[in-house]
Amino acid sequence: MIKKIAVVFLLSLPAMGFAQESIESVMARMKPDIAVKIAYQETRYMGLFDDEWHGSGYLYAEIPDVMLKQQLQPEVEMMAAQGSQLTYSKPATQTFHQLQIDESNPMMASLAAFKGMMTGNLVYLRQLYDLKFASSELSWTLEMLAKDHEPEEEPIKIIMQGLSEQAANKMSVILPDGDRSSYELSQPQQGLLIKTKLVVLLQSLKGQ
């Protein structure tokens, strides 16, 4: 009997080893060699809207600290974070802003979180959020609570999720007033072509 238990234990060791995700391993997996592009589907649940709002587009990231969100549906919109500077453009309303990233702004908070995750920058994430990582055999979850928030409000909560040994495939941003945004992430691509595309998009954004 004891022998059987020992054999089962020994055989399960590799499996246990493989099931042991850590935040470091997840971040290492997220970190691109050159640049990465991920497709996303966004759903926003807002108390001031009757129905959910849906959008989609692509997220680009390049180490060490460049991130670009290209929304294609329902309207074209671009937001890029490079270092601590944010650039935003919406051609339909002829809007263009260039400002410092303010992590207490929910939209910027999610972008900052994406930037941190997609560039595998754990140090940056730890500066902005209190991190709580949990994993199981099949999946992992990283919960981030914003450190910077209004005293009378709850902090913004960002939850990133993914399958074991894989990059994040879901993100939720929960705001203090109860509104939230959910992102379904898919089709990650990497390489020089992605980097070139990112450079072109950044140039077109800054050229406005």
């Binding site: 807002m46 809207f49 270092g83 500077q85 705001l175």
Partner: protein, 766 residues
């Protein structure tokens, strides 16, 4: 010979007197307070605000990254946090920072949408409440809720569904854009300190720390940025440093020069010691009395008043020349004999300084008290104490050759010399037409030009506001002031439309008068009928927005937004330099960008308590005003001196003869200015008056010759003249150009007056 009891007592009290003067006196260095006086309550309040209010406590810091480069955000963040930790610094913010204003929109303005949406509700509401406008508004709201500004919009919209509170801010959105459309090469900040800008020692420390932290941060980040600073504290510090240097330098130079002169004339350290002790007493008492009357003593008073030495030293000099080497009884008799001349001389000099004090220039009132006290104290000490300080053992110094020669020469060739002087005088009178008056008071301080240039350079990097020109609205209550300002905005809008004004920055949309706020709300509520409410709900529905949460248009909340609430919010720092509040009066400043002054003046001319204010024009108006006052003061002073002399001599001829050296010296100086084309200001006239007052003394001494020994009398006058010329002449080394002007005028004047006495006056015989 044993020193007398009186002299012992005097020398014991002297250190005490000096200690009292030094430790109980409050010294001031604000040059504006010395020179600038407002003609009306508004200008005085404004001047006071500039000197000690919010405006005086701020610096503008401008970081230059170099052409084509941008100042790093990390550098800015780190440096700002270091600046905020400097003791005495209240806050530092970027000139284009809107974060505070944006948070105030949600926390403060959202609930007052019904009161602040417009200055002209009758025109605004029809454009807001039509069906198409409401549909567009709902579409805009949806976009805003999906934008990066969603969080701020959500906070506002639940209180103000129509976003009326943002309506007024549309008009300044473009202003913000223009303001912030500066090149990224520069990063500009405002730093506010706790203490007044005139609190120079503290401000100098802060300036040093600003530079130190900047240099340290620059080295740490390996950047080659350059820091430029401007602000009232910088000007105040530069002025004080200049004045302190001047006072120290001039005092040392004149003390050394006087010492050497004294030794040259009297060849005795003891004599020098007596006289200087007397002068120290005179100055200590003058400082104490001036501080007692005014509560402080200005640095310029000390600087100009130090020339008092050159005047007060005359009395003991005359006593020394006439009575040294005599026994006490003889001394007292001789002094008693010459004292009436000294008294008359002191009176005429006093008239000159008192006339100065009555001229109205704030600083010169102090100078008048300071010097008047000094003259009286010096005269009394000379009459009653100085004889007891002197000893019989003093040397009798033979008169210099020139002193013996010149009066004799003038007597021999009197008519020839008089003719020459007359020719020169006529030529001088002819030149007077060419006299040029200084038109711009700013030319009084050319030594501060480098700061003015830097100030202009920095402001050009910021906004297009003209800092020295604005519209000033006043009122005894805040409500009245705000109501008047609202009328002014209408006039300014019209001038804008006509092209006479590019833009202006008033207090709207940050605050409106109570009257306007109530009117806005009343008008809105009466225009918001059921029909409009239905339009709104339909528009919300079409945009997929919640009718339940955004459909109720309840704008009945009754509290209006007060100025006090605004000044306690983050918006305060944007507005604090536009409001000057006091118990008696309130001022509101409307900043202007490029404009035509005539157009603005014409638009505002019939509005009471509203002025187009130009700092440069005010200063130039003051220059003309001071010039006229100085002319009147000079003439009145001369007339009074002439009257006094006539009362004494009971003869017009004698009076004119006594005055002639002073008058002709004055005329020749004026002619010289006219010929050289030097632009003269009220300061030249002030120096002129002093020179005349001193020269009249020479005329009196020479005319009366009370000792009966003309050479001795002239010797005493020579010593007086040399000390006056030397002491005033030392001011030429001052950095402050105002003091240099006095140096030139008075030194030349007293020398000329001295030389002309033997030419023009036939004295009482030896």
């Amino acid at each position: 010979m044993r020193p007398s009891l009186a002299s012992l007592f005097f020398f014991l009290c002297l250190p005490l007197l000096i200690a009292i003067a030094v430790f109980t006196t409050h010294f001031q260095t604000n040059i504006a307070a010395f020179v600038i006086a407002g003609d009306n309550a508004e200008e005085i309040l404004l001047a006071s605000e500039i000197q000690s209010g919010t405006l005086s406590r701020r610096y503008i810091l401008s970081v230059d990254a170099g052409e084509g480069k941008q100042v790093s955000a990390v550098f800015i963040q780190r440096w700002l946090s270091q600046l905020k930790s400097i003791s005495g610094v209240v806050d530092v913010w970027a000139t284009d920072e809107k974060r505070g204003a944006l948070s105030a929109l949600a926390s403060l303005y959202a609930q007052h949408g019904a009161q602040l949406y417009s200055r002209t509700p009758e025109q605004a509401l029809p454009e807001i409440l039509t069906e198409s406008a409401l549909i567009e508004r709902a579409a805009g709201l949806r976009q805003a809720l999906l934008s990066p500004q969603a969080q701020m919009i959500k906070k506002i919209v639940v209180q103000d569904p129509l976003l009326l509170s943002l309506n007024g801010f549309k008009s300044i959105a473009n202003q913000f854009k223009t303001q912030n459309n500066t090149t990224p090469q520069y990063a500009n900040f405002i730093l506010e300190t706790k203490m007044s800008g005139m609190d120079v020692p503290e401000q100098i420390q802060i300036q040093e720390q600003i530079n130190t932290t900047f240099t340290a941060q620059k080295e740490l980040s390996q950047q080659s940025y350059q820091l430029d600073m401007t602000g009232i504290p910088l000007f105040a510090a530069a002025t004080q440093s200049m004045m302190e240097t001047d006072i120290k330098f001039v005092s040392i130079i004149s003390a050394v020069a006087l010492t050497l002169l004294f030794l040259f004339i009297f060849r005795s350290f003891r004599v020098m010691f007596w006289v200087f002790s007397l002068l120290m007493t005179v100055m200590a008492v003058a400082v104490i009395i001036t501080n007692f009357i005014f509560g402080s003593v200005h640095g310029m008073t000390i600087a100009i008043g130090s020339t008092l030495i050159g005047v007060c030293i005359d009395y003991p000099i005359h006593v020394l020349v006439h009575a040294q080497g005599m026994e006490l009884e003889q001394r007292l008799t001789r002094i008693k004999k010459i004292f009436p001349s000294l008294l008359m001389g002191a009176l005429t000099t006093l008239i000159g300084y008192v006339a100065l004090g009555l001229s109205g220039y704030p600083g010169f009132q102090q100078v008048a008290v300071y010097t008047g006290t000094g003259i009286i104290v010096s005269l009394l000490l000379t009459r009653y104490l100085f004889p007891k300080l002197m000893t019989a053992g003093a040397k009798v110094v033979a008169p210099f050759r020139f002193i013996a020669f010149w009066p004799v020469f003038c007597q021999r060739y009197r008519w020839g010399l008089i003719s020459a002087v007359l020719v020169l005088s006529v030529a001088g009178i002819v030149q007077l037409d060419r006299l040029q008056w200084m038109q711009d008071l700013q030319q009084l301080t050319p030594e501060l030009d480098y700061l003015k240039v830097q100030d202009k350079k920095i402001r050009e990097r910021l906004v297009s506001m003209e800092p020295g020109r604005f519209v000033l609205v006043s009122g005894d209550s805040l409500e009245a002031t705000l109501q008047r300002a609202e009328q002014v905005y209408l006039r300014l809008d019209k001038v804008k439309q006509e092209g006479g004004l590019e833009d202006y920055f008033g207090l709207y949309p940050w605050v409106l008068s109570q009257q306007q706020q109530l009117k806005n709300q009343r008008t809105l509520l009466s225009a918001l009928t059921q029909k409009q409410r239905d339009f709104w709900r339909n528009a919300l529905q079409k945009q997929g927005l919640s009718v339940q949460r955004l459909g109720e248009l309840d704008y009945t909340q009754s509290e209006i937004l007060t100025v006090q609430q605004v000044l306690q919010s983050p918006v305060a720092k944007l507005l604090s330099n536009q409001l000057v509040l006091s118990d008696q009066q309130n001022l509101l400043i409307i900043w202007l960008t490029a404009h035509q002054p005539e157009a603005l003046q014409a638009a505002l001319v019939d509005m009471p308590h509203v002025h187009y204010f130009s700092q440069r024009d005010m200063l130039n108006r003051m220059a003309v005003d001071y010039q006229q006052r100085a002319q009147v003061t000079l003439l009145a002073g001369l007339a009074l001196i002439a009257f006094l002399l006539w009362l004494r001599y009971k003869s017009v001829l004698l009076t004119l003869q006594t005055l002639s050296p002073a008058f002709l010296a004055a005329l020749l100086i004026l002619a010289l200015w006219a010929w050289t084309g030097e632009a003269i200001s009220f300061l030249h006239l002030v120096g002129f008056l002093l020179a005349v007052a001193i020269c009249v003394d020479y005329g009196i001494f020479y005319q009366e010759n009370r000792s009966g020994h003309l050479v001795l009398t002239y010797q005493a006058m020579a010593a007086s003249m040399l000390t006056s010329a030397l002491v005033f002449g030392c001011l030429i080394f001052a950095q402050t150009s105002m003091l240099q002007t006095l140096a030139k005028v008075v030194s030349c004047g007293v020398v000329l007056g001295f030389l002309l006495c033997p030419v023009l006056i036939r004295p009482k015989s030896d």
